[in-house]
């Protein structure tokens, strides 16, 4: 008996998907990822080392209250501006707060800023890029001109304008960076969609009546994932640097937040007497950004050589 709840002609596709799933199961989907991970570790030891560093920073951020030797907000004016010592490995700031503890808590701010706005902006860019590439015509024209406008802006100045409009604070940085950075993702996803939509599997799906939305998100999007993963890794450092820059200019995170950019600008007043106040958070930014760049480069070589050519 026929199952009328299904779209006509989808049995063939389902059978093919089932076959593919069987093949994947035989090969072991986890093995594919494991293999890629092994290739990454074998081919690019620096990328693997960077991943370890990032995991350490992530753990430090998550378990900051346990890892940090002191409360990062606790002021002690009698201990202000102390040199690095065994009690305070990176000294204390102008309010007597332990700099190491603030750098550890700062990892929470920077990694959250790196991850959340990047995820949001990439989600926006992915949906718009898919629509532009798949539908073409006027949709493509409008979305791409919008992307052109966004890409024409100097990103830091644009983020500054958004912060001017909405005021400082971490939530507003999330919004500013999410709005600013989607255009690059949209361009890459569009170009991949343009080539993928001509492939036979898309044509096959179309010919058996699969809906356009399903083709975009279940057939084309998974094929863009390797590029998106690489792009995600490479976009995080730029978000971290943007937050640090905005906070450094005084229009990002606000005191008493332990943002690395904010710590660097507050330490600038004491640069010539206590340079570690500015340098310690700046070095933390540099290590995290470098680690993401190395990891992104390594992942690109393993997952998506096409992006490297672009």
């Amino acid at each position: 008996m026929l199952d009328h709840s299904k779209e006509p002609g989808t049995e063939g596709l389902e059978n093919r998907q089932k076959e593919q799933a069987d093949v994947s199961a035989q090969l072991g989907e986890a093995d594919t990822w494991k293999d890629q991970l092994k290739t990454l570790v074998r081919q690019n030891k620096l990328a693997a080392f960077s991943a370890v560093i990032l995991i350490l920073f992530l753990l430090a951020a998550v378990f900051a209250p346990i890892v940090a030797p002191y409360d990062h907000l606790k002021q002690s004016l009698t201990d202000r501006l102390q040199d690095p010592s065994l009690a305070h490995w990176l000294g204390t700031d102008e309010l007597g707060r332990d700099v190491l503890s603030r750098v550890i808590f700062g990892a929470r701010v920077s990694l959250t800023i790196g991850l959340v706005p990047t995820l949001i902006s990439m989600a926006i860019g992915t949906v718009l890029g898919l629509c532009a590439g798949f539908y073409g015509g006027k949709t493509d024209f409008v979305i791409m001109r919008l992307a052109d406008v966004m890409l024409a802006f100097p990103s830091l100045l644009l983020a500054m304008v958004v912060m001017y409009t909405m005021g400082g604070g971490l939530i507003n940085i999330f919004i500013a960076l999410s709005l600013v950075n989607w255009a690059g993702t949209a361009r890459i996803v569009r170009s991949q969609t343009l080539s993928l939509k001509e492939k036979e599997f898309v044509e096959a799906a179309r010919s058996i009546g699969v809906r356009q939305w399903t083709i975009m998100f279940r057939h084309i999007l998974p094929n863009c994932l390797p590029s998106l993963i690489v792009l995600f890794t490479l976009n995080i450092p730029s978000a971290i640097l943007s937050e640090a820059s905005l906070s450094f200019l005084g229009i990002g995170a606000q005191p008493p937040s332990a943002s690395w950019g904010l710590m660097a600008v507050r330490g600038k007043k004491y640069l010539f007497s206590e340079p570690w106040l500015s340098i310690a958070p700046s070095v933390a930014i540099m290590i995290v950004v470098m680690a993401f760049n190395f990891l992104g480069d390594g992942l690109r070589d393993v997952l998506d050589p096409y992006l490297k050519e672009q």
């Binding site: 406008v149 024409a152 500054m160 409009t165 005084g250 950019g261 660097a264 640069l271 700046s282 930014i285």
Partner: protein, 307 residues
């Protein structure tokens, strides 16, 4: 080629209009009245109304937009709330400093980037390559303000070779230029190396070597010409991004340029000045992108003849 140039210019115009519109809308959705924000809550409402009328802020937003575009086309970006001066004049006063800083930074970036890139490519996978590429990645990953602060601490404070801040002499311009150029030097070095490594694997390089040309001649005479094409485009693009991205360097070294104007405009809630600086720098970026595209057309015979 000229049709390509015309097409490229035609594409830039709607982008420019879109940019102006986007900035205009963004700055108009600021909560509260801009004059009240600037003067404070306790000012007489009649004074606020009078100033708003004088500035044309009582007009509908669409009228304000078209008036702004009409005046901007004539080079008038309005009057600064705080300084009570023409924004165009303020920008033009600051612009030469930003241009000087950006050009010097570009020279720093090009010299360091290209030399490091070539050496790394020639010594591929050896110690020098790893060292230079490590430094390049460090340059790309360092926040600009960190480079600036480290340079200020080491060379101005400790060694006393340069002044700590200011922009009134050639000596005072060196540290800001290095701080701004260092980051771009990293990108140029990475790109030069990867392009050169790729080009060096081509058949014509093997032929050049086979006919007995020295390695120096092969690199300079044959490989560099082709490897540098995308790098040159990138270099032009970087000048425009430096013109707009000097905000942090100018803040650390107290350079009275456009970036500092933008930061001051935000601090003093001076909307016309912020609008003017952002529109002006975005025009520079669009012009830079256009110049890079055209330069690529001119330099690459395949594109030039194909058109």
């Amino acid at each position: 080629m000229w049709s390509r140039v015309g097409k490229r210019i035609a594409i830039s115009i709607p982008v420019l209009v879109g940019v102006v519109l986007a900035i205009f809308v963004m700055l108009r959705i600021v909560p509260g009245d801009p004059v009240t924000t600037m003067l404070g809550e306790h000012v007489n409402p009649a004074v606020i109304e009078k100033i708003s009328r004088e500035m044309g802020l009582d007009q509908p937003v669409t009228v304000q937009f078209f008036q702004y575009v009409f005046h901007a086309l004539q080079g008038d970006f309005g009057t600064s709330y705080r300084l009570n001066r023409n924004v165009t004049g303020i920008i033009l006063d600051a612009f030469p400093n930003t241009v000087k800083l950006s050009l010097l930074a570009a020279v720093v970036a090009w010299v360091i980037g290209i030399v490091a890139g070539i050496v790394a490519a020639v010594r591929q996978n050896r110690l020098l390559d790893r060292l230079f590429m490590g430094c390049a990645l460090m340059g790309v990953s360092m926040p600009v303000f960190m480079t600036a602060l480290v340079l200020q601490y080491v060379f101005a404070f400790k060694l006393k070779w340069f002044p700590v801040s200011g922009f009134d002499s050639v000596k005072a311009m060196i540290l800001p230029a290095i701080a701004l150029g260092w980051n771009s030097a990293g990108s140029i070095a990475r790109m030069t190396r990867s392009n050169l490594v790729e080009v060096m694997q081509n058949d014509y390089i093997r032929t050049a070597r086979a006919k007995g040309l020295r390695e120096h001649g092969v690199i300079v005479g044959h490989a560099l010409k082709n490897a540098m094409l995308p790098v040159v485009t990138m270099m032009v693009l970087q000048i425009s991004s430096m013109l707009s991205g000097a905000v942090l360097t100018e803040s650390v070294f107290g350079v009275p340029g456009i970036g500092r104007l933008a930061v001051n405009a935000i601090e003093t809630r001076d909307m016309p000045l912020l609008q003017g600086t952002v529109v002006f720098t975005t025009i520079l970026i669009i012009a830079g992108n256009l110049a890079a595209d055209l330069l690529y057309n001119v330099l690459d015979p395949r594109i030039r003849e194909g058109a």
